[in-house]
Symmetry: none
Subunit: 176 residues, 2 copies
Amino acid sequence: MGKSGGFFSLYKAIIIPRLVTLHSFKGQYEHSIDAKGRIAFPAKMRKVLSLDAQERFVVVRGLETCLYLYPDNEWRKVEDTLSKANNFTRTGRIAKRNFLRYAEDTVLDKQHRIALPGEHTNYAQINGKAIFIGMGQYIEIWSPDVLAKIDADLDPDAFETIFEQVMGGGSGSDGE
Amino acid sequence: MGKSGGFFSLYKAIIIPRLVTLHSFKGQYEHSIDAKGRIAFPAKMRKVLSLDAQERFVVVRGLETCLYLYPDNEWRKVEDTLSKANNFTRTGRIAKRNFLRYAEDTVLDKQHRIALPGEHTNYAQINGKAIFIGMGQYIEIWSPDVLAKIDADLDPDAFETIFEQVMGGGSGSDGE
DNA sequence: AAAAAAGCCCCCACTTTTCCCCACTTTATC
DNA sequence: GATAAAGTGGGGAAAAGTGGGGGCTTTTTT
């Protein structure tokens, strides 16, 4: 685990792509998810989708108790990185396997909704309501209850320090 | 006009852009915010934008009980900075999440007003009136009551000391 | 193999929110 | 003083969000 090319290193490269696009997903939107697993994709986020993506997505388990939603064009970048992963090491294989096995193609329907698979909503403990959070090039989908717990545990001082570094133009490089 | 080209065309290409870059948001303006959350964007601030040809903004929670309003071109710099400062840790992810979830794209309507989302006006305790303060590259939006309280709490001596440090060449590191 | 159940997508309709347009008042400019 | 610009608020159309039914295909059960 301590080795530089390990499990977390691969996740880092995959999950947190650079913010380089013209427009990015931002904001939070709480919507209902009905008995069929359908939830409206937020209209403002829909305007961010590139024409390339064609309202196609990949939904995958997040690192925390949430889901990540990648538009197609962004997912391609993820797969590019995956294809470079080393299949000849155990950690490389485990990382790739546990990422891809929970990834699933999905697409907006004619009413601009997504049908989230039951496996995913169970994992993220989503029931009745869900919150979309724009994270730049991808989107997180959370259960309101789970998110409220994480918010309650949040240390405001740590966030404010990082925020000031970012807005103040500081280099903000604190290692892991 | 386009045929005559010549001096005026050269003037537009060279001189006007220079004038634009010398402008920044400054001053304070108190306006009404109606029941729909609409507030007029101050005309003088709009003149800073007008040659940008972009009346698109991102509104985000401020560090204090106020909102920050970034024109699109300035927001891009913020995102560039965020992408450089981002760290591949859980803390980093939480910071990014709590930054971007409270950021929202918005545009001026045909009457040059901004519709502030209810979440933002609640956070900043804005109700009925709001004050725009030009902060150079971005704008702060305050509740008059909150701002009055901060003004009342401000120690004039401390302000003068900080002012001297900043204008006197100090790096302006505030120990908040 | 046939029947039943499940899954998936489309369509529809209703409710709520957003955005466009208009008009009036106040302030600034000529 | 007259005109233009800026600020303010209301109404309604359009868009977004929500939930149900139906039909076809696929999978599972008998």
